[in-house]
């Protein structure tokens, strides 16, 4: 067997060589991705299979690496805003929020109250839309084609709403250090008020179509059980962690913006499996609706951008700041080190998906290939965020 595929550039790369089968090669080395329908973008997972059981799995990253951290060092504080919309394209406003909060901490900038409420309202709407897309895509992984279309019905409404103040539908660059870029109109607030009961009326349909479905339950229940201790060792956060029974939410643990004034619960599940993660996310949609309900009534009149907000050539004072924010996927961290110039000296982005994916290798061991797909989906991965 010395065909062309067994000679050099075809001999496989670093990863496939590491997975070279041993002397009794009864196992199958399989490359899932980077162009695989259920790896959501360009994740690659090398798996070693015995029949359909996974002996080893290893995610391979870097196919969508854009070096956002280096870009941060070459751009001014304002110019980095569009990058924040593109790290995690499903919940960009959380990244917007983390970044502007970090810059505000660094520069000691006050934010008008109205702007804080605008941030919360748009960010929570964005969280719902992110969970909706996850819901549809997860079911697509499990072989149900229709739910994603229903989820998109709601998601489109959210995007139509968010489009009005932010001007975009996906990669929002809306928050600014010291406030936000545009005010919310009364029509927008009315739209949110109308959206809340509409979204609530759709949730029973989700339950009938999917959550209760016996096939889905058998695909999720007792699949990918993540013990709390393992979640801690890998630094899991967000719904993945909360489904393992820990009520940890950055909005409560490290309060930012006006979240302390709002009433909402932190959904937890003790199931630890994929079904737990599923249920936590659906419950989070309801909690976000509760936040929206309160926020649209509480929003005060006033400025949306503080006077003296950073101008394009603004220089941040020297110093260090770490800001964590609860994104749809978990704990987003922005760590800025400033030397007092117009660009950050170093900016570190902590992506929740990065930690959440790193536990996949251990979680997938010994499961079926179909279960691995289900686990991968239940972690809610956004590859651009993981690769950054």
């Amino acid at each position: 067997m010395d065909s062309v595929f067994h000679q050099e550039p075809f001999r496989g790369d670093y990863y496939t060589r590491r997975f070279e089968p041993g002397p009794d090669d009864s196992t199958l080395i399989l490359n899932m991705g980077p162009q695989h329908p259920s790896t959501h973008g360009v994740l690659r997972v090398v798996v070693e299979l015995e029949g359909e059981y996974i002996l080893r799995a290893e995610p391979v990253l870097g196919y969508l690496h854009r070096m956002h951290e280096k870009m941060g060092e070459t751009r001014s504080y304002l110019q980095y805003m569009p990058n924040m919309g593109r790290v995690d394209y499903l919940h960009p406003l959380a990244w917007n929020h983390a970044y502007v909060c970090a810059v505000e901490k660094l520069g000691n900038i006050e934010v008008p109250r109205r702007a804080e409420f605008i941030r919360v309202i748009t960010s929570e709407l964005n969280r719902i839309s992110s969970h909706l897309l996850w819901w549809g895509a997860y079911l697509l992984d499990l072989g149900a084609f229709t739910p994603i279309m229903y989820a998109f019905e709601e998601r489109e409404r959210i995007q139509d709403l968010l489009q009005e103040p932010t001007g975009s539908r996906l990669t929002y660059s809306f928050f600014r250090p010291g406030g936000v870029a545009a005010d919310l109109s009364p029509e927008f607030l009315q739209g949110v008020r109308e959206f809340i009961p509409y979204m609530r009326s759709r949730l029973p349909m989700y339950k009938d179509l999917v959550t209760d479905n016996i096939i889905l339950r058998y695909r999720c229940e007792e699949v990918g059980e993540l013990p709390l201790d393992m979640a801690r060792r890998y630094g899991a956060s967000g719904p993945v962690l909360r489904a393992s029974g820990m009520a940890y939410d950055v909005r409560r643990a490290e309060p930012y913006s006006v979240y302390p004034e709002l009433e909402f619960a932190t959904p937890v599940s003790q199931r630890t499996d994929a079904m737990g993660r599923y249920k936590v996310r659906l419950a989070e949609i309801e909690e976000s609706l509760k936040i929206l309900e309160q926020a649209v009534e509480m929003i005060p009149e006033g400025e949306i951008l503080v006077k003296g907000a950073p101008k394009p050539r603004w220089k941040a004072p020297a110093g260090e700041v770490y800001q964590a924010v609860e994104g749809a996927r978990g704990k987003i961290g922005v760590h800025i080190l400033s030397a007092g110039s117009a660009q950050p000296y170093r900016i570190k982005l902590r992506a929740p998906g990065f930690s959440n994916l790193s536990l996949f290798a251990e979680l997938a061991k010994g499961t079926l290939l179909s279960d691995a797909v289900s686990i991968l989906g239940s972690l809610d991965l956004v590859i651009p965020e993981i690769d950054r």
Binding site: L78, P82, G167, S168, S173, D208, K311, P312, R313
Partner: protein, 180 residues
């Protein structure tokens, strides 16, 4: 016993399959929700960030408000804007003669200042990330978003938009003399 109870539960749970069919069947009978593009178009574009366009002077719809301060160029994170400042106008023969006379008389000739306007305003839409910094930071509010959302092309060069020409086209004005 546990196993039997589980099996019985599985059987009762089969009803969920019928419920699922009921949902999709119900949706099947409802009207469609998609925007049927060539026949319908979306309308909510008032604040949408489409490709940039220049805002005309209130008095002259073919001239932009732009004062060629290059703020937008410096603030753009993608480097998608190219603005050239206008050169001072060519002196007329009388002015040239007057300048020469002034020079001979040992005085500094009165130079005509360059008009504060751009001579070229090129916008590379293929690079733009639509972050809005240029429009927000323009001191005279000369940039705005267009509603030209169906802009498509098969060649990246087609996205190098000449915003001055675009403004003139919108105003229905002819290109200025001397420009090919």
């Amino acid at each position: 016993m546990q196993a039997i109870r589980r099996k019985l539960k599985d059987i009762t749970n089969l009803w969920s399959m019928v419920k699922g069919l009921k949902v999709t069947g119900g949706q099947f009978l409802k009207p469609q929700v998609t925007v049927h593009y060539p026949r319908q178009e979306v309308a909510n574009l008032a604040s949408f960030r489409g490709p940039l366009q220049l805002v005309a002077k209130p008095k002259d719809p073919a001239k932009p408000k732009c004062i060629a301060c290059l703020m937008c160029v410096s603030v753009c994170p993608s480097g998608c804007l190219t603005v050239l400042k206008a050169k001072p106008p060519k002196p007329t023969p009388e002015e040239e003669a007057a300048a020469r006379a002034a020079l001979e008389a040992g005085e500094k000739p009165a130079k005509k200042p360059a008009p504060k306007e751009p001579s070229r305003f090129i916008y590379d839409y293929s690079l733009c990330s639509l972050c809005g910094l240029c429009a927000e930071n323009c001191p005279v509010g000369s940039l705005s978003y267009s509603e030209n959302i169906y802009l498509t092309a098969t060649d990246a060069k087609a996205f190098k938009l000449d915003l001055l020409a675009d403004l003139r086209a919108r105003a229905g004005a002819a290109p200025p003399a001397g420009e090919e």
